[in-house]
């Protein structure tokens, strides 16, 4: 098979598998879309009550602030939390058919991406409610950030899906790590509130630069080049490592399943 054949096959597989994921998701719940938007909104409500009403955090338009960080976070966390089970859940296929297995993980990530895009209008509604509006920079800022987040999320998910085949308790570990990651990512608070001596650490944080980029784009219409670049570097490194691990171990998949 030629290279272009392989690429076409990979793309078609990813497309068909993503379509499947989306169909399954919307078929299983009556109001699939409402549910998937309701989840981050419910979190936003809880955080609003706890941090603004009770703890009096000093951030303007806190609900809008929360939503602009929670929606992209939700995409990342949904895909990553699902990833340990993706190869395991497709055992019967992997054991019988030879096909590029990474497409199964990609499909899950793409499905959450579609969801994220569908939830952007909700952000717009909140912007309008708060007397603001989407900026023109969204036109190119949104696709760029989606691309970066796609790389980052796919890399993380591919790594975890692969490793979990060999170490089956990865799932529990991921759940714990995601809690840490969430509270150490500026979703509930602004990066400006972080004590100065820790700010340098943000560059090393795999998700924070991305969330900060999203927020500055969605709220202020600014593409924060420095953070987008940092985020791209993270995404590239993670995807590279993930691919190495996947490449090294994928021929053993049918053995461990």
């Amino acid at each position: 098979m030629t290279v272009s054949n392989n690429v076409t096959r990979f793309a078609e597989l990813a497309l068909v598998l993503t379509k499947k994921e989306i169909k399954v998701r919307y078929k299983s719940y009556l109001l699939g879309y409402v549910w998937s938007v309701a989840n981050p909104l419910a979190f936003a409500t809880v955080f609003y009550v706890v941090f603004q009403v009770i703890m009096k955090i000093q951030i303007e338009n806190y609900v809008l602030f929360l939503i602009s960080g929670l929606f992209p976070w939700q995409w990342f966390s949904n895909s990553v939390n699902a990833s340990p089970g993706t190869f395991l859940g497709n055992a019967s296929l992997i054991k019988k058919i030879k096909f590029p297995r990474s497409t199964v993980v990609l499909a899950v990530v793409l499905q959450d991406a579609v969801h994220f895009v569908l939830s952007l209008p909700v952000v717009v509604v909140f912007l309008l409610v708060y007397g603001s509006s989407p900026a023109l920079t969204w036109l190119w800022g949104v696709p760029i950030l989606i691309f970066v987040q796609l790389l980052l999320t796919f890399g993380s998910a591919l790594f975890l899906a692969t490793v979990n085949l060999f170490f089956r308790d990865m799932e529990r570990l991921v759940a714990v790590i995601m809690v840490f990651l969430f509270y150490f990512t500026p979703v509930l608070y602004s990066e400006k509130m972080i004590p100065e001596k820790f700010v340098g650490l943000l560059t090393l944080h795999p998700v924070a630069p991305l969330i900060i980029s999203w927020r500055s784009l969605l709220l202020d219409g600014v593409v924060n080049i420095a953070y987008v670049e940092t985020s791209l570097v993270h995404a590239a490194v993670i995807l590279f490592i993930a691919y190495l691990v996947y490449h090294k171990l994928s021929w053993r998949f049918a053995e461990v399943l």
């Binding site: 597989l13 068909v16 299983s28 021929w251």
Partner: protein, 247 residues
């Protein structure tokens, strides 16, 4: 087109016993030296020094007790496993006929599953679309095509699965014991389709415990015992020896 199309050469396949690893990262790290030793030393031998060739257009049967190594052999042909020693050479596109319902998604309709499965098996989306009508016709599932397949009976699932494979243009077809499901009329249709494949020169590798199917369909049969080849030859002879060894 009569050369060997599948060649196994003194092939052995063993697996490390993965339990110390799959038991989890925690167990692995806390018992690290023991776990590494066990990974290195404990291995399960699934096939040992297996050599055989399957020729183009041939129907090749594989028989043997459960756990003898038949499914591993199919996995090696399909390319989902790689040999630990020796080599396997396969020339041509391999289509596995999957066991009931694997590769299907319960919530999707029959037609949606055809697209998913067809593309997984190596067709392009266009090819699937072109063949969709003919697949549906062949399966005789009619209106059920637009129902989620969780509502299907096992016979209907078998129909769907076989109908897809029947439209794959396979060069090498792997069949792992699934002809027994489905009603008599559909079984007959399957057998006709297999005959048709045979006439067209499709190579088939057929694993079964139904000895009359093996003698009826196969040109040659391999008997695997204890993870290695016990006998290869004409169906009647090999099946007789196999059955004899059990009684």
């Amino acid at each position: 087109m009569t050369g060997p199309i599948i060649v196994f050469e003194t092939l052995s396949k063993w697996y490390p016993l993965y339990q110390p690893v799959t038991a989890g990262l925690k167990r692995f790290l806390f018992g690290f030296p023991a776990a590494m030793r066990s990974l290195r030393l404990n291995r399960f031998e699934a096939l040992r020094d297996v050599s055989f060739s399957v020729y183009s257009g041939e129907t090749f049967g594989i028989i043997g007790l459960n756990g003898a190594g038949k499914s591993t052999t199919l996995g090696l042909i399909a390319g989902v496993l790689s040999p630990s020693r020796g080599s396997v050479k396969v020339t041509g596109r391999v289509s596995p006929l999957l066991e009931l319902g694997s590769g299907f998604h319960q919530e999707l309709t029959g037609a949606e599953n055809i697209e998913l499965n067809g593309v997984l098996m190596g067709l392009s989306r266009r090819q699937v679309a072109e063949r969709l009508k003919s697949i549906i016709e062949f399966s005789e599932l009619g209106d059920y095509m637009h129902q989620p397949i969780r509502t299907y009976s096992s016979g209907m699932l078998a129909r769907l699965g076989f109908s897809i494979v029947a439209h794959l243009d396979p060069q090498i077809l792997l069949i792992d014991e699934i002809l027994a499901v489905g009603d008599l009329s559909f079984q007959k249709k399957c057998t006709q389709r297999l005959d048709h494949f045979k006439k067209k020169g499709v190579t088939m590798v057929f694993v079964s415990h139904a000895m009359e199917d093996v003698t009826g369909l196969c040109d040659r049969v391999m008997w695997i015992e204890d993870h290695t080849v016990r006998m290869i030859g004409p169906p009647q002879k090999v099946v007789e020896a196999y059955v004899g060894s059990i009684h």
